[in-house]
Amino acid sequence: MNSLIPIFVIVPLATAFLIMILGRIINGFQKTVTPLILLFLTILSFYFLINNNSNSFVYSIGGWEPIENVPIAIYFVMDGFSLILLSIISLIGFLASIYSISYISKFTSENNFYSLLCLMITGMNGVVLSGDLFNLFVFLEISVISSYALVAFGTQKEELEASFKYQVLGGIASFIILFAIGLIYWRTKTLNIADASIFLSSGNSNTFDLFIQILLITGFGLKAAMMPFHAWLPDAHSSAPSPISAMLSGVLIKAAGIYVIIRLFFNMFVASEEISILLTTLGTISMVIGVLLAIGQWDIKRLLAYHSISQMGYVVLGIGIGLIIIARDGKPSIAALAIAGGLFHMVNHAVFKGLLFLNAGAIEHRINTRNLKEMGGLSKEMPVTSGTSFVASMAISGIPPFNGFFSKLIIIIAAIQARFYLLAFLAVFVSIITLASFMKFQRYAFFNKTEHSNKSTLKEVPFPMVFSMILMGILCLLFSLLAFPGIREQILGPAIEVLTNTDQYVKSITGI
């Protein structure tokens, strides 16, 4: 079982290079092989997730054993929390790659597109699996550099400008992160997360630790587009090709931003009240202001991108409340509930926001505009797009049978139980504005009557696009099952266990 872990990195990496070599010779190689390997990874990760995600697997690259209890190898760690991320990365990647088969055919260099997509997935899988800080940084850079190239893939004015902005801000974030990693190494003399955690929990914390943590929040906050650092997200996510927008909004900001923040602040640093309050505040601010900025948008993809900021705010809010309770030594059950809400919303957001971006891409594919005012009455001609986007809109605004409702409900219940009434109220308030905003989206895009110039040629998008949209629509319903007690313990339970129980995480790696 252990020896299967590096497959998650090797297979997409090898595919990326194979596409560049064989894609020139064999026609259609890139289109067939990418969905196949991503399907394979999806099946593998779900197999791990369902069968035994309660134990964590450790793989030391190069076979270096710890010397005097000091881990010297590069570790891949696969525990419940990594597995959740791995599953959604592979799943959204698989659906996006199937969708790309018809969407991307209008661009010239398909080989480059699929190769970069595979590299991006390699990077994200690496970030999620990596057990030490520097390799985490390297994999992070692999994924974000390929995403820079993918954002600029259309090479039009807007795309290039968005990519440049994204690169400059992403570059600043990367160097701040590298600086913080250097400081951590200076202080703890180790890069292994578990080993550093032993050092940090044994010594008494000082202001230097606080400085490192604030640097890390700045760096990964920039990658995750939390509110004061969000400037690049609406440009980059709206300019990329739609399947890539789905990947960026659906998984990249989670794997490269939120995942690392959660992993480091729960499993490495000792929970401190200042940092947890800071995180919660940032989450709340992005939740509220993201949705307020989204209301006025008429470009569908920009609107969706601003909602991404807002929805990531929910995730950070849930996680932050959990961290506050842990820092104050409050009731573990409430902390577990808040973290469960955050993680659950993260999974749900990947599915519904991915689906919404795919819908936006389908609309753009047919009528060549992203402006809501120029659309209308599409529900007759494009029934599948209309239906699935209705499902996703209801899910994101938290209407009962869909998954978004349950995760928001869990976060709100946790906030009330922890006596943060204001935060609970704000979460409900933002949910209502989200609903209003998506009612506007539905009305203008699908139900309003507007005459199109090319009405006669308007029809439903090709089969691969329809297939992945329908599958994601089904997942929106299916994932609400995760809210029910038995299944929740099975899937989310181990992840929460890993996050709340740092000793166990440390023990699984160092053996102490």
Binding site: S3, P6, I10, L13, A14, F17, L18, M20, I21, R24, Y59, S60, I61, G62, G63
Partner: protein, 145 residues
């Protein structure tokens, strides 16, 4: 792109061979001295770029060269990955482990697989830097027209 004057051409002709050899030296001594695949590859790419700059080339020619360098880059990095994957089937069966005999400290042929990695990483880095250079210069040529 036009070439440069006869002095530059002659000097480039004389010196680029030595730069190339120096790059190879850095690569094959990667496990003994500072340097290795990346540094040596960058030096080899420097020799190549010097030649292109001094002698000049037209866009069609550059495009052909770019195809070749980009292909050899992919091939070299693929071979590196294959060397790493090969470790899964031999010896301790761990990814990226060193499965060849280690040899004597200080010899050229020692340190197991590391010199092999160095050589292929050197090829890959040289090809990558040349590809970046060619891509930028082809773009410049196209813009001029």
């Amino acid at each position: 792109m036009k070439g440069m004057s006869i002095i530059v051409k002659k000097i480039a002709q004389l010196i680029s061979g030595f730069i190339f050899l120096y790059g190879i030296y850095i690569i094959i001594h990667g496990h003994l001295t500072p340097g290795g695949g990346f540094a040596g590859g960058a030096i080899i790419a420097g020799a190549y770029i010097l030649n292109i700059l001094a002698f000049g080339s037209d866009a069609v020619n550059l495009r052909n060269k770019e195809k070749g360098s980009s292909l050899s880059e992919s091939l070299a990095i693929f071979i590196v990955l294959m060397l790493a994957i090969f470790a899964l089937f031999i010896g301790s069966r761990v990814f990226l482990s060193n499965y060849l005999p280690k040899g004597q400290l200080g010899e050229i042929i020692s340190a197991g697989v590391i010199p092999l990695y160095n050589i292929f990483i050197g090829i890959e880095v040289a090809a990558a830097i040349i590809t970046i250079f060619l891509a930028l210069i082809i773009f410049k040529e196209e813009t001029k027209r």
